[in-house]
């Protein structure tokens, strides 16, 4: 029996039970579409996050207080009192000690309530030193940046300005933060939101204003120090220089004793990526389970089909069908169910991946590998779950099969 003959016979048998075949295909279809969508969503989020991090600038180093875990376990410092100070930031600005660092800025964040007339709005107030605009790749939409050492100047994010004044043309207005009155000297250009923070809802003041006026006391600790290397190739040199300088300043004897962490953009990307990759695998695993259930559906329907067509099988055998031909016929039927489900499922998955991002506000990346892979899986499911019913059909003794009612 030729392949075209086998295919047309199988197609005929599937068409004979349209409803049943459609429901079986639906099981596979849902599974395949779910796999393509979840993998796409995972990859999309991964892409969003790494783009967010890349938007920080490709030659950025981020120094945070506390140490990374080392062989002796978790070191103290992280999340508790900050081990970085404004003095560290100043030292890192030295052209001699760290020649590969082009610009430095330190940030100290505090959540504060801002008041302007009757309006008030709670946002993150950031005290900054040095070349904040340059290092953080931000621009001003209007006005100018806060002066170094100024105590009554603030630059607002566009969202914050809108919340407080209903407009972004607010240079010259005043805002009260923690009882101190600040003049609005500038408004930031919109930058969108990153995975963790809203870059447009912020208020920037000088570090002096932050430590003296807002948080009070003579606390010179900072939340984060950002370093901009002279260029991308100088990243690792800048990393080495900054590390040895900070180790020396903090009196630490070696990298193991460091009470700070320096991350490059690359390491942030790879951390975030690995987190989302794990998430993607988990989600795809759940979707894969539904595919398995779909496969069991195929097996179920093929077993029903074999039982129902026992007499036909007996007749075909009496007319000279080899056991192999019967086996091939049922396997082909199961494969057609699987592949049809796969094709339609992949089509719907891709369609959803194209239309959903507009609704969901998160990108979905259709990976050709995932599409091709799930088609192969759909075919494999048809084959694997079709084997048992097909073998059963092929093993039927022709005489028993012919006698069945």
């Amino acid at each position: 029996m030729s392949w075209t003959e086998t295919l047309s016979t199988a197609w005929h048998a599937i068409r004979a039970h349209t409803m049943r075949s459609l429901l079986t295909v639906l099981g596979i279809l849902i599974g395949i579409a779910a796999v393509i969508l979840t993998v796409g969503l995972g990859l999309g989020t991964q892409k969003d996050v790494s783009e967010d991090i890349s938007s920080l600038g490709s030659n950025l180093l981020i120094v945070t207080p506390g140490s990374s875990t080392d062989s002796s376990g978790v070191r103290g410092g992280f999340g508790s009192a900050s081990t970085l100070t404004t003095a560290d930031a100043e030292a890192l600005g030295s052209d001699v000690a760290v020649p590969d660092v082009a610009a430095v800025t330190a940030e100290k964040e505090s959540s504060q309530s801002l008041e302007a007339g009757d309006a008030n709005w709670t946002t993150t107030v950031t005290g900054v030193t040095g070349d904040w605009l340059d290092v953080r790749s931000r621009e001003l939409a209007s006005g100018e940046f806060v002066g170094d050492g100024s105590t009554d100047e603030v630059v607002l994010g566009p969202e914050t300005a809108t919340e407080l004044f209903g407009s972004t043309r607010v240079v010259g207005r005043t805002v009260s933060i923690a009882g101190t009155t600040f003049d609005v000297v500038g408004v930031l250009e919109a930058a969108g939101s990153s995975a963790s923070t809203d870059l447009d809802d912020t208020a920037v003041v000088s570090m002096t204003a932050m430590t003296s006026g807002i948080t009070g006391g003579a606390d010179t600790s900072v939340s984060t120090i950002y370093l901009k290397a002279t260029d991308t190739d100088a990243i690792s040199a800048a990393y080495q220089e900054a590390q040895s300088l900070l180790l020396a300043l903090h009196g630490a004897t070696g990298a193991d004793a460091a009470d700070f962490t320096i991350d490059s953009q690359d390491s942030l990307v790879s951390t975030a990526t690995s987190v989302y990759r794990t998430l993607t695998v988990l989600l795809a695993g759940v979707a894969g389970l539904s595919l398995l259930v779909g496969g069991i559906g195929v097996m179920n329907i093929m077993l029903v089909s074999v039982t129902e067509r026992t007499r036909e099988i007996g007749l075909r055998k009496a007319l000279g069908a080899h056991p192999g031909a019967i086996r091939r016929q049922f396997l082909t039927e199961a494969s057609i169910l699987g592949v049809t489900g796969g094709l339609v499922g992949a089509g719907l998955g891709v369609l959803a991946a194209v239309t959903l991002p507009a609704v969901l506000d998160s990108s979905i990346v259709v990976s050709p590998v995932a599409v091709a892979g799930s088609l192969a899986v759909a075919l494999a499911i048809g084959l694997v779950f079709g084997v048992y019913p097909a073998v059963r059909a092929a093993r039927l003794a022709p005489i028993d099969a012919l006698r069945s009612e």
Binding site: S2, H12, R311, A318, G320
Partner: protein, 250 residues
Amino acid sequence: MTAPGTAATVLEATAPMPSPVIDLRGARKTYRTGDLEFEALRGVDLRIERGEYVAIVGPSGSGKSTLMNVLGCLDTLTSGSYRIAGDDVDDMDETDLASVRNEQIGFVFQQFNLLPSLSALRNVELPLVYRGVAPAERRARATQALERVGLGDRTANRPGQLSGGQQQRVAVARALVGEPALVLADEPTGNLDSRSTADVLDLFDALHAHGRTIVLITHEHEVAERSRRVVRVLDGLITSDAPSGRAVAP
């Protein structure tokens, strides 16, 4: 594989005296269900030559159905030997048996056993499909076979659109299309009215006249009388084997 020289010798030796279509010797068939044992055939010898028209008769439970299954290579013997058109089928596996059924035997069943979703033509083509005959040739031969049974104008009809007698004629066409050594009919008129029965039996007569070997299993006396030789089976044994009344008459 035999060497070419030997093959030639064998051909010369067998050509003048062709092997019988059916050569059954000491056939025994025992069925076991748990502890119960039932001997359906208890030592049957049967030889049927080319061109014979034989009826096998017997009451139900006599073993004639078992005999028919064995003759049709649908079942194997517990002991004894069976050769069909010279092929020894005793040690064959299911694949080889399928080939023997395909090439040597044309079945006609009581229930017609046509596939309801296929046209008459496609039903008749089936044995050739499993033999691997090319589609064009298959169609031509199936059309020819349907014409021979008088259904040349019904090739596109499905079984459901045909009368019982017509369906059985399609089944006969299917049995003939592969040019088998043996046409094996199991109660072919059991589901037919008297008019269709006469049609089908006339058809068998015509096939016999063209030299076909026909073995027909029946419990109806009138049907058996249309054959040329009647073999009676009772309790798993052949009790008589004689020319039918019709065979002596002309």
